[in-house]
Symmetry: C2
Subunit: 141 residues, 2 copies
């Protein structure tokens, strides 16, 4: 999670919403990514999606047995991508009542049609993740 | 929708789940894409995501005023990406009770936290879209 937080800080320095993600398997890092929505002019370029795409390209598709660390509760797009990629565990930092799609809103994993539900651990290093986001948006208001 | 269906057929010919998508603005085609999950080893490479990414890269980000034609009801990942991209209207072919995320499952647009809800028109040329998928999966069983 420390590496994900560092990626979130790097995203903030690029004027991107500060979210960072790391994909791990058997203690080995497969991918590290920060949010690049602005830089890439790509509304899908959330940290989680970039990490999943990078790791999947390297591993030939799905990510069974892989665990994702991300500084913010994934949105519904990222939650559904996590299910499609068959990620084993998701550890996330700050809860996101407005944009989250796991414990809030669409609650993507809570439907019988969801083909894969990872183990979820929310609130990891929550204060630091939340402070990063709060400071970022405060500076822009 | 005819172009989207042709893209879906082309996807089937590549042994990809046959889904095609077209993004349009003011009668002009911005992007055409078929599903390339297998080819790219990318679980996020659904037709809708590829079309959104291509059009957004060209237009510098969001896709306000753009309309999406897609042969199958978008999954929750694609539905949420459609909201993030601020797409105006979605015309889709076959309803997808198992994997859909608009009229089924997570119903991504039906939550107060969804920041943008496009106009939705489902069931367009539904029979042909559904037949394509049915034939594809039947041949693989």
């Amino acid at each position: 999670m420390q590496i994900a937080l560092a990626e979130a800080e790097a995203a903030a320095a690029r004027a991107e919403v500060p979210v960072g993600a790391v994909l791990v398997r058997n203690g080995q890092i497969l991918a590290i990514a920060g949010n690049r929505v602005e830089e890439l002019s790509d509304p899908t370029a959330h940290a989680e999606i970039l990490a999943i795409r990078a790791a999947a390209a390297e591993r030939g598709g799905r990510l069974e047995g892989c665990d994702l660390y991300v500084t913010l509760e994934p949105c519904p797009m990222c939650a559904a991508a996590i299910a499609l990629a068959r990620i084993r565990r998701v550890y996330f930092g700050a809860y996101d009542p407005k944009g989250g799609g796991i414990d809030h809103g669409a609650r993507v994993f809570d439907h019988p049609t969801c083909h894969h539900r990872p183990e979820i651990y929310g609130g990891l290093d929550e204060r630091r993740s939340a402070a990063l986001l709060r400071d970022f948006f405060r500076a822009r208001r």
